[in-house]
Symmetry: C2
Subunit: 103 residues, 2 copies
């Protein structure tokens, strides 16, 4: 129990929940992890590494782009996705620090 009685406002709870929900999916978490470790990658690289259908990969990537978690940059025939929001990486670092996942 926390002595500090400050409360997250309803609005910010919604924001926090939105980010958490978005990364609270095994596929999306692995995508973020992959990009965090290896930098920008194409849809094909991502889908082959993780093992996804093309449509599924595209849809998850789109979802995260909509949420401003990822950026997309087209280079000819490829679209490179990368992490746009450092916050997400910091959250994941926190998770590791908090032992939420121990490798």
């Amino acid at each position: 129990m926390n002595d500090d009685t400050t409360t997250i406002s309803v609005g910010t709870v919604q924001d926090a929940a939105r980010v958490l929900k978005c990364i609270g999916h095994p596929v999306r978490l692995r995508i973020i992890e992959l990009l965090d470790n290896g930098g920008a990658k194409t849809v094909t690289e991502i889908r082959e590494t993780i093992g996804l259908e093309q449509a599924s990969a595209s849809q998850h990537l789109n979802l995260m782009r909509d949420k401003r978690i990822l950026t997309a940059r087209r280079d000819g025939v490829h679209v490179y996705y990368d992490i746009s929001d450092d916050k997400v990486v910091r959250v994941i670092d926190c998770l590791r620090a908090c032992d939420i996942d121990t490798r």
Copy 2:
């Protein structure tokens, strides 16, 4: 991008995602916050504070109990819920530190 190239295993990604998904919900986040600030509370106290339907409160609490995020202790007609896993609180503290929610 992270120099550290260690990778979360598929299994732990699933675990981490499950926890994140669970707390990635405005209602559940507020419940955790409430319990963190005020200690164990009954279902009624929780649902009245946050403004939830009885069944909804019960379901959210059950879900978090299943995920070992909360504990439930029956005392007569009341069931007291409390935070069981300190990790979750630390994650939420991290979120605040990461500016995911700024009050």
